[in-house]
Symmetry: C2
Subunit: 303 residues, 2 copies
């Protein structure tokens, strides 16, 4: 069964002093399952993956799979610059029970990139001997340009490169080109970026979306309406909640889900890990006021 629908990113939960908060992590995962997530993604950029040690990644992978306990599939991000390390991480995630791994094309810092041939060889190397599907993440953070032709070629030629999360500019047109070029080989054309482009991407053929974890239950209903032919109803619901997506995308960023998990009494601290810093009091107040008005499950689940 292909994975589709709403696949929220679980934030990584820290204590105020920056240690992993494993109890808070478990409650966050339970909340996302209860909110109706079709699958859950861990260790994504929105999970501050770039601020974790290798050992912490393993701890969080094992914890998530244990806590989910088969209720929904789990997508584990295994990005690393090195083909060898990314392949090892991916095989370890598969062995631990991940349903899929997500990786960006290799990059490091401002200057190290490897081009399209290098990216293709990287994904071939990660796929080699891997038993689960790969989700290729096409994200601005990487600073890597992956053409629709490259993505479609990988979908056709590398058996487990089957999913694609497009969150660079022109995601909708690129989804359309990918679907045209790859056909059924691109089993999961998805979008990401907080679902800020969702309706246009659904129109382009997206079958999945990877938002933050703020309003999973709403996006599930948007997707249900769209899938059953009620596009107008999907658009109406989406546009009612768009201000919150826009606020996360433009103002409150990767701390958004944690701030509302904390506001809803689900976690004890919404700290991000230094050198990142939390949102300003003013931005937080705007977020909380907007969320109270819209009243997502995240504010009610633990009450």
């Amino acid at each position: 069964m292909p994975i589709s629908g709403v696949i929220p990113v679980a934030p990584t939960i820290f204590t105020d002093d920056g240690a992993l908060d494993l109890a808070g992590q478990r409650r966050t995962i339970d909340f996302l399952v209860d909110a109706g997530a079709d699958a859950i993604c861990i260790l994504a950029n929105w999970s501050e993956q770039f601020a974790l040690s290798d050992a912490e990644r393993e701890t969080l992978t094992d914890l998530a799979l244990e806590q989910v306990n088969g209720r929904v599939p789990v997508v584990v991000t295994t990005s690393h610059f090195s083909t060898r390390v990314a392949a090892e991480r991916s095989r370890r995630a598969a062995a631990a029970g991940a349903a899929m791994v997500m990786l960006m094309a290799p990059y490091h810092g401002a200057t190290i990139r490897v081009g399209e041939a290098g990216a293709r060889a990287f994904f071939e190397g990660v796929a080699d001997g891997l038993s689960i599907p790969i989700l290729v993440q096409d994200a601005p953070m990487a600073g890597v340009v992956l053409s629709a032709e490259l993505l479609a070629g990988m979908a056709r030629d590398i058996p487990n490169v089957q999913y694609f999360k497009l969150e660079n500019a022109d995601a909708a047109d690129k989804l359309r080109a990918l679907i045209r070029l790859a056909g059924d080989a691109a089993e999961g054309p998805w979008d990401g970026e907080e679902s800020i482009t969702l309706i246009t991407d659904l129109d382009a053929g997206a079958t999945g979306t990877m938002p933050g974890g703020v309003m999973t239950e709403v996006l599930v209903e948007v997707m249900r309406r769209y899938r059953t032919g009620d596009r107008a109803g999907a658009v109406e619901l989406y546009e009612r909640w768009l201000p919150l997506i826009n606020y996360e995308n433009k103002h409150s960023g990767l701390q958004t889900t944690k701030a509302l998990l904390h506001e809803g009494g689900i976690i004890g601290s919404d700290a991000v890990r230094a050198p990142l810093h939390g949102m300003s009091p003013e931005i937080r107040a705007g977020l909380v006021a907007m969320a109270r008005r819209l009243d997502p499950l995240i504010l009610r689940w633990a009450r």
Copy 2:
């Protein structure tokens, strides 16, 4: 005793299939010591640090310190985006016997930067409780701008932030500004970038240089001449060898030292780790021909 002089970067030695070659790593370290290095730096960008797992970093740190066995100081690169992880790495390196740690300001990918206040807080966090000096690496790869004022302020205010490796554009003018602003608090104003700007940086007051490992013995003699007042002799020797530095800096890159270690019979493979790829046959032939003409120790040491 402050560390000064020539501090070459030890490349990380891999087998042809990308595994660590620990025996080759030991021979490389012995060669650099014999070539006269004043200290050795491991896990730098020129060591492909971005392609290593955390466990491999620890293996290589322990191996280097054991192999050097106190003959020269060892500088261990402990860069990581997270203050917490960078601090843990640094404390571990100190406990293992490192003389100094080197870190870039935090960065991730194309988009995540934390500004000057964030960089300062990062170095304060790493310095907290650390028993050895910190070398701040100001490198193009980070895509981070660190002003001379920021660097001098850290030198004055954070006791173990004492060394600065400047390898962005305008290194010489920035060294001069740093020395003017920080005085003795900047105990080690150094340059890097294969020592491609060495003479101008020495004129600006640099006391150390961090090149690759191709011609340590030559740069040691350049520094000796300069230090003893023979600037003309230093320039003459430097300019005779400049074509090789230029070739490394512009053509053969981080594989240069490994290619010549291999050519000299010191290591069995000069592979870089995928997704990086080795230099072309044409670039390699040009490198080897130039090195044979200049005849550095690296081609003679194992014979």
